[in-house]
Amino acid sequence: MSSRSNKSLICISCPIGCHLTVEYDKDNLREENIKISGNKCSRGITYGREEVLAPKRTVTATVSIASEIQRRLPVKTTKHIDKVLIFELLDNLYSLKVKPPVNIGERLIENFKGTGVDVVATMKLDR
């Protein structure tokens, strides 16, 4: 007998927030073994699987900028990043200092720790 586990999650792929029930085998954690119910669309399945296998989030934060307009430049990760890496990423971000001009989408960190995730600016600051 394998050990089946239950987890109730709220899908955050969109504002509807489906209440998901995720069933999985703790000892045999494979994508095809994860059963998801309560979802209203396929994004719920992707979300439920990810939350069990390797929860990921988009990180938004700010970095220092020598701008006349404001002291912080907002940034985001281009993709979801493993939750466990969030604080390490923040350590990197908080020690950066950017000089204007900077545009939306401009890359500040490329391929963070080999994850394929970049950090880009999300505000245009000309000076």
């Binding site: 700010t62 220092s64 020598a66 307009i69 020690s95 200092k97 890359r107 500040l108 490329e110 720790k113």
Partner: protein, 520 residues
């Protein structure tokens, strides 16, 4: 200041100390007005009902009553000189029963005996004519047209500005904790070890007047802190009365009032509760209910939906209930002006006269200054201007066109003026300009005001306070706060970066903030 011996040191820059300082500034005297808080009017004077009483509450034998009547009559001239927010809107006392009408009769007689001008007894319909929003169950009441309203802290600010203009030294953040006495000179010592020397000392220290009196070996008495809670209601409230409404007083208190403030809001309160802690400014659910219950009995339409804010003030009640304004044969050159609670605001100009006379009796030479100027320029208030005068003003100083506080329409220039008058805390600027006093309570403008304080005074953001002492608004810049900062260079970043970067340093940040300011 340290080595110079002043003529007079006044301890306490509330309405009493400020009135005395301004009065004495007409004479050839070196004067210091000393305040323990960061700003003047930050004690008893900032949180009270703001009433100029007509003079029917106290029996004529008391000093209170004598100075109240005299003080009341001095406000028109004072206002012509100093231009503080003041209006003789009249006071009514509403009786809700035949029983209460008996007390009204007594008050009326007392008022007549005290010489209150224009006081009248009112029947029900006269009361409702005077105040249509009054509870229609009103039996009758009293009307005293000479009563009025004032913004107490702005009155103090005007007095202090006038005193400063006429040479008085204003010293804040100086808490008198000790004194020495040598060669007919008192040395006042602060909690931080600084000292001020003066030949005469006047104790106007409000809630701490008993302690200062004791320090000087003068009369022993006890100040009982008496807390009063208030609620401030939005300008848009439809039931706002046009006169101050009092209930029929009880033996211990004048009751909970409905006050139409000079600036258009409605103030309800105060409660009256003897407490132990002189700095307990907390409010409670019980008193919230009490205040709304009591004031709805007067004006039934009063609604808690209109609350902008609540606050509490503490009055310095002295034993016996009367003011203690006196000098003592065994303590030369020391004067107490203590126990100044209601009607202290009304009486304050008369208290100043009274103290001046005591000072003279103590041997202080009062020689009039030929260049004494009792007048202050009127402070510009954008919110009271029409569009074309505003336009002319903007030509002269464009900063008047930059609206910082959108609720009360206060401009950048007005805030800068407040800062230059020495008000460098958020509360000080609020009391001076009304910015942050409206319905958003600083939600939109306080960050702008912090930036202006920073620009005008050079104070770093994290050193700016709400009301002095340790009341810091911010906990430092984000970079400093972040405990896990790793010094990284471009190359240490995984995969490198695609643009020019440098590691952060607090110095650079300070510069960028400055640059931002220079741009506004």
């Amino acid at each position: 200041m340290k080595n110079k011996v002043l003529d007079v040191a006044i301890i306490g820059a509330g309405v009493t100390g400020a009135s005395i300082a301004r009065k004495l500034s007409a004479y050839k005297l070196d004067i210091a007005l000393i305040e323990k808080e960061t700003d003047v009017a930050f004690g008893v004077s900032k949180a009270n009902s703001g009433i100029i009483h007509a003079g029917f509450h106290h029996p004529p034998v008391t000093l209170k009553s004598k100075l109240e009547i005299m003080g009341n009559s001095m406000f028109d001239q004072l206002n012509r000189e100093l231009h503080f927010p003041f209006k003789r809107c009249g006071i009514i006392v509403a009786a809700m029963s035949v029983e209460e009408m008996k007390t009204i009769q007594e008050l009326y007689q007392r008022g007549v005996n005290n010489g209150v001008i224009g006081i009248e007894l009112c029947n029900r319909s006269r009361m409702l004519e005077l105040e249509p929003n009054l509870n229609s169950d009103v039996t009758g009441g009293l009307y005293a047209p000479t009563g009025g309203i004032i913004e107490p802290y702005r009155f103090v600010f005007s007095l202090v500005e006038s005193a400063r203009k006429n040479g008085v030294n204003i010293i804040t953040n100086f808490e008198v904790v000790d004194k020495r006495e040598t060669n007919n000179t008192y040395t006042l010592i602060s909690s931080t070890g600084e000292s001020i020397k003066a030949r005469y000392v006047i104790n106007a220290s409000g809630l701490y007047a008993d302690k200062i009196s004791e320090l000087f070996g003068a009369k022993k008495f006890k100040i009982t802190p008496r807390k009063g809670e208030y609620y401030l209601l939005d300008k848009s409230s439809s039931y706002r009365p046009s006169r101050v409404i009092f209930p029929v007083p009880t033996k211990i208190s004048k009751g909970i009032l409905v006050v139409p403030t000079v600036e258009g809001t409605t103030l309800i309160g105060p409660t009256a509760e003897n407490i132990n802690d002189r700095e307990d400014f907390s409010t409670s659910i019980e008193n919230f209910e009490k205040i709304f219950y009591a004031t709805r009995r007067l004006v039934p339409a009063i609604s808690e939906r209109d609350i902008i804010t609540s606050f509490a003030g503490v009055r310095p009640a002295a034993e016996g209930g009367d003011f203690i304004i006196e000098s003592y044969p065994d303590v030369p050159k020391f004067i107490n002006a203590a126990g100044i609670q209601s009607p202290g605001l009304t009486a304050s100009p008369a208290i100043a006269e009274y103290v001046k006379d005591l000072l003279k009796k103590q041997g202080c030479r009062l020689v009039e200054k030929p260049d004494y100027d009792p007048y202050l320029d009127e402070t510009v208030k954008l919110r009271e201007m029409d569009h074309s005068s505003a336009d002319q003003l903007f030509q002269k100083d464009p900063r008047y066109g930059n609206i910082i506080c959108r609720c009360e329409n206060v401009s950048e220039a007005e805030i800068v003026h407040a800062i230059h008058q020495g008000h460098t805390t958020l509360d000080g600027i609020k009391f001076y300009t009304r910015a942050q006093m409206g319905r958003c309570q600083g939600g939109f403008c306080s960050y702008k005001i912090i930036k202006i304080i920073h620009r005008e005074t050079g104070l770093p953001f994290e050193k700016i306070t709400k009301r002095g002492r340790e009341s810091y608004i911010l906990k430092g810049s984000i970079e400093d706060d972040w405990k896990g900062v790793v010094e990284v260079t471009n190359t240490s970043l995984q995969g490198g970066t695609t643009r020019d970067m440098q590691t952060g340093s607090p110095d650079n940040n300070a510069q960028s903030a400055g640059g931002n300011e220079g741009n506004t």
